[in-house]
Symmetry: C2
Subunit: 352 residues, 2 copies
């Protein structure tokens, strides 16, 4: 930083023949400074394109006006929406965002925390990586008195604010919706059961079956959470003879993989097999037929998490009890689960 080119307060003080403190005060509009001096200083600042060195200010004030974000993988539409929400709120409040990607790896997440602490960020937003089992590095954040807010994926055992989805309820809703279409053999393509979201969505699925008066069939609840695994699972189920009349996928890509395979096998969607996904990526609208899915409101989650963090940062007393904010997910019904009468392409998105 401060390549040759950067102007400092000292430079301006020298040019104007005044003390640095005078320049500093003039720049801040301090009332003690004469109008004339103020004018002189401000004109020079503009002419020289002076930019205050916020790093130095940070050192002085022991606050950086910077928040850190640790996110598993930005290329997921959901996470990119969250980041967008975070950036929006941070920008408006005058905070800068330092961005770290854990790539779903524990070692990188640990490193990311170190980096952010070293940068003395004013607060940290974290969505925990899939690999993380030990949460000491996250506890360290709090020990360093740095406000911490989890979003989407929290760390068990760490007391901090968090903003999460009502995964279980939403999964239940999706399942009930399928049952409501008269489906009896509803399958679940589940996410790994060591993940919180994997467990929650499966639990919600089971809740839904029970509420609908259906008996869970273990053969219909399998672990498959990717496009490819879903394709494979469809083939396997077909060969095995136990075939579902509806599928609730743990995420959209899984559901779409299933749909692609179903279509190839000649099944009609949703008449023979209805499908729903989870996490309303834009994929859902684009799929053919368009996919019924659960909108997790990523952008809103980002804004809420950041507001919560800023509140904590800016509050004098940081020891107030922790908040858990639930961002309610919505089921967006499209053509993959309901016969398409009148539902246009692109519906649920915008009229076409």
């Amino acid at each position: 930083m401060i390549k040759g080119g950067q102007v400092t307060i000292k430079d301006m003080a020298r040019i104007l023949g005044v003390a640095p403190s005078t320049v500093s005060r003039a720049l801040q509009g301090h009332p003690d400074i004469s109008a004339e001096t103020r004018r002189l200083v401000n004109e020079l600042a503009v002419r020289l394109k002076y930019q205050p060195n916020v790093v130095a200010q940070g050192l002085k004030f022991r606050r950086s006006n910077t928040i850190g974000v640790i996110i598993p993988e930005i290329v997921h539409y959901f996470f990119s929406q969250v980041i967008s929400g975070i950036e929006e709120v941070a920008y408006k409040a005058g905070y800068t965002v330092i961005f770290c990607q854990s790539n779903e790896r524990y070692d990188r997440e640990v490193n990311n925390v170190k980096t952010l602490i070293a940068h003395r960020v004013d607060g940290i937003l974290v969505s925990v990586s899939k690999e993380t089992r030990d949460f000491q590095h996250l506890a360290d954040i709090l020990e360093n008195q740095i406000p911490l807010v989890f979003f989407d994926r929290a760390a068990p055992g760490i007391t901090a604010d968090m903003v999460v989805t009502n995964d279980r309820e939403a999964a239940c809703m999706a399942t009930l919706h399928l049952a409501g279409q008269g489906k009896k053999r509803i399958a679940h393509f589940a996410a790994p059961q060591n993940l919180f979201i994997g467990m929650e969505r499966k639990a919600g699925y089971l809740d839904g079956l029970v509420l609908a008066g259906l008996t869970p069939d273990p053969a219909l609840c399998v672990e498959a959470d990717s496009f490819e695994k879903a394709c494979h699972e469809i083939s396997r189920m077909k060969a095995s003879g136990t075939f579902p009349d509806a599928i609730f996928g743990a995420n959209d890509l899984t559901a779409i993989g299933a749909m692609k395979s179903l279509l190839r096998e000649g099944f009609r969607i949703p008449e023979e097999v209805a499908v729903t996904g989870f996490s309303d990526s834009r994929f859902a609208e684009i799929a053919e037929p368009s996919l019924t899915s659960v909108d997790q409101h990523g952008f809103e989650m980002g804004t809420l998490a950041t507001q919560t963090l800023l509140k904590r940062i800016e509050s004098a007393d940081r020891e107030y009890p922790c908040d858990t904010i639930i961002v309610k997910a919505d089921l967006i019904i499209r053509n993959s689960s309901v016969c398409s009468k009148g539902v246009e392409p692109g519906a649920g998105h915008q009229a076409c």
Copy 2:
């Protein structure tokens, strides 16, 4: 920064009864320091979870080991890939990434530049917003002696390194591919012509027509660059009587909007109308039929841009001539343009 909790070198010096400079040297493994002192210091540092204050180091060394990124909208898959590539290279080189989103707005972009300069980042990566017409703020970056690299969208008239796609060539390739399928009435759904990419892709389309010996028909080249506009355009064309036998969309969402409408109107894809997109978002694989599209290699663009920036930052002499790196886009052929014999669902992505 430095809430109550943060340990400083001074703290440790006091505890050990030595001078701060001794602690500093011990931490760096300076040879002058006795093995014993070094051990003592390092043990204490670990015990107290000392993290060097990189803000203070930055002030001292006039470099922040931080790079700034200004991106139009992170929610585009392409840009999120680029960010991912940027973060990857930065992380490995020990740099931290400050992230700003212009939201395609000029005023925010100007502000973002200010923020990054104020933070004394060591270098800046920019993809220019659609709205930006005045480039003074970007020139300011260079005037401040801060290395600047453009990616994807460069600013005309500003001499800086850049990493871009061969849009025009790729658009030509896509058009030729359609012509190669025997299509004669190839339409283009173009991006706005005030955008560089809009102009380039249209130029490439025209190049392709000429190379294929086809005569451009103005009625077939329309401005439509979104899902909805594409739907609308299909209806309009159908009503007008001038209907294409192939469509080259300026981006994937546009192409997919067109496909959805075509299917609704009862056209067979690709037999009656072949379609290609641009920018290989994951949408392309997911669409039904899967969409032939141009892969812009976002991740690679991010890594290359960052490597270029770091090279510039770390080179003693920064005045060497500017590089323009072309990341060659690839046409990924899928079912929307070629009759599907043997092409599996999910092909082009991974076997299923």
